[in-house]
Symmetry: C2
Subunit: 352 residues, 2 copies
């Protein structure tokens, strides 16, 4: 899912999202409730009317962003109190408020309000946090008034296997239409992250979507799909594009380098995006040096299309019953023959 | 002509230019020779290959930009010596070098190397300058080696009627395939500019394009078309778009204002551009406040389309033999009933 934090995937039009095969756009409750406010979005008939993206939306609960404010926020049983990063005003976000805002925003998938503990966090902290997140899940479901939005629950438990198990069992019991794997990609090493992803994905129902929140890089998608993950979101493709980097099967290309400036070949000869069909690396590197807006726009577009093509290929390999071989071949090229242990383990040992 | 200074119309893709009806894109010799250098553009097969815009290009001669560097440049009979704004290196631009660069860039229309005197400038200065510009025109034509590029000459003479007449007569004698009206919109009041435009346009051949360089705003297009001008270029539509302004028949809308943030109507209900078909002013105003790249992109697109639609309507009125009435009606609405004298005079008295 491309990330449209403030109601726009940075630099990309809805038509382009449709053209590259985006299936869902993620928008952020925290940002939109503060600016422009959820009532303006509601007045447009929700996010599709506001943003002109005609496809499905998913909104997060706002919890993750509030947590990442650090010392500016206070958590208690009722919810979270924080200061707006825009004007410093005090705002409260509770399960009830989060669901109300998400109903106004009108996404197709909305998320339960949860706490995403930092890494590292003590066993005791993570235990108390996941228990509260379970109570907040109950309150989120209670608060829901619209029947046309799928509310996904979020499994927590950090990197503690016993706590993941508790969170899994208790969360799955709520029977929500989809489940997210939360608390990952917050600074823990891949060696701690992947066992937790594997355990959680394994324990979630086969017949409902499994969403790994805030992930990830191409290698994370390939490894996590092996573990059974169905949905991802990350600012990485657009953010790294804005910084002048392009994703390819051979790894990330740095267009800020002098070498790119004379290369009369496309970013990625396998790609069918507008940038790859029309531009040389030399031209795009020129745009970057000249600080032209078309550079971040085209690199973001390419990177999104790269990830969409990556999961299209993964889907095809799964359909062919050939995922493990495809993923290893992809990894061999991407990592230039040096597959990290966590990647091989995810693909070979835990492949479903 | 949308302006693509550095080989890109800021924020706009070639596909979008085609979609909105752009007919020619202007690129700047000065900027492109300094970065990325004309040889890289030549290696792409010229500007269409480099930029992926498949339509016609026009390149300026570099003279105007060099002149605007002010104290950093020196002019003599041979040409202009200046310091690069990028790295301070000393660069020479002569008629011969300008044409050689423009041949490498490969535009369909190239411009003779000229001096565009500042405003104000003395009669004596402008006289000596236009005489040198005539000699430079001869050298530009001498230097031309490609037969597939139309080299346009530029009439100078500032706001001095007698000097305009001299420049006109001597320039037209060269019989180039098109002519530009130079030296305008450099700070002179409209009351001095329009008589000079009228005089020059009147004196140029009927059967060849007349190009008013560096102009302009919507009202300048409507007034100048009345005087017989065929071609325009200006950074105004894209620049004012990046600053949050939208062009309409009712004047310029400031999307930075609080009022826009709650308006659930399009920028311009008469417009068929992507922004007007998909977005409310409230959404676009939100993007501006949130500093999202889609804002300058969409406002630039709308403003270019607005000017294209404006000249499409002007063309239709001319075909109908109804230009004066159309232009006055347009002006009544645009100026809210208070037509400036220079506008009425250009439309009513000098209408062709």
């Amino acid at each position: 899912m491309p990330v449209g934090t403030q109601g726009t995937v940075k630099g990309i039009s809805p038509q382009e999202l449709t053209d590259i095969g985006s299936q869902v756009v993620l928008a952020n409750t925290y940002h939109l409730m503060l600016r422009p406010g959820e009532e303006l979005v509601r007045a447009h008939g929700g996010l599709p009317g506001f943003t002109a993206y005609p496809g499905p939306f998913l909104t997060d609960s706002g919890g993750f962003q509030v947590m990442s404010l650090g010392h500016m926020r206070q958590i208690d049983e009722r919810g979270v109190t924080f200061r707006s990063h825009l004007d410093g005003s005090v705002v409260e976000l509770t399960p009830e408020r989060s669901v109300a805002v998400q109903e106004a925003l009108g996404a197709d998938v909305i998320m339960a309000f949860d706490e995403c503990p930092p890494y590292p966090a003590t066993h005791d902290y993570v235990k108390r946090s996941l228990e509260r997140t379970l109570r907040w899940l109950g309150r989120s479901l209670e608060a829901q008034t619209r029947a046309d939005q799928a509310l996904f629950a979020i499994v927590q438990g950090g990197v503690y296997s016993d706590l993941r198990e508790v969170s899994l069992r208790e969360t799955v019991a709520f029977g929500t239409p989809g489940f997210a794997i939360g608390g990952m990609a917050v600074g823990e090493p891949k060696e701690e992250m992947y066992p937790a992803v594997a355990q959680t994905a394994e324990g979630l129902p086969e017949n409902k979507p499994r969403y790994l929140m805030g992930v990830g890089h191409p290698e994370d998608l390939v490894a996590s799909i092996a573990l059974g993950v169905d949905m991802f979101d990350c600012v990485y493709p657009t953010r790294t594009g804005r910084f002048g980097y392009a994703l390819t099967d051979d790894g990330r290309i740095n267009l800020n380098n002098a070498a790119s400036r004379s290369q009369l070949l496309p970013l990625d000869s396998d790609c069918d995006c507008y940038a790859c069909r029309h531009y040389t690396r030399a031209y795009l590197a020129h745009l970057i040096r000249a600080e032209e807006m078309l550079a971040p726009r085209m690199l973001s577009l390419h990177n999104l299309r790269y990830l969409h093509r990556l999961v299209e290929r993964a889907r095809e390999a799964i359909v062919q019953g050939d995922y493990q071989a495809w993923a290893l071949a992809w990894g061999e090229r991407y990592f230039k023959g040096k597959l990290p242990g966590w990647f091989s383990e995810a693909v070979v040992l835990k492949v479903r």
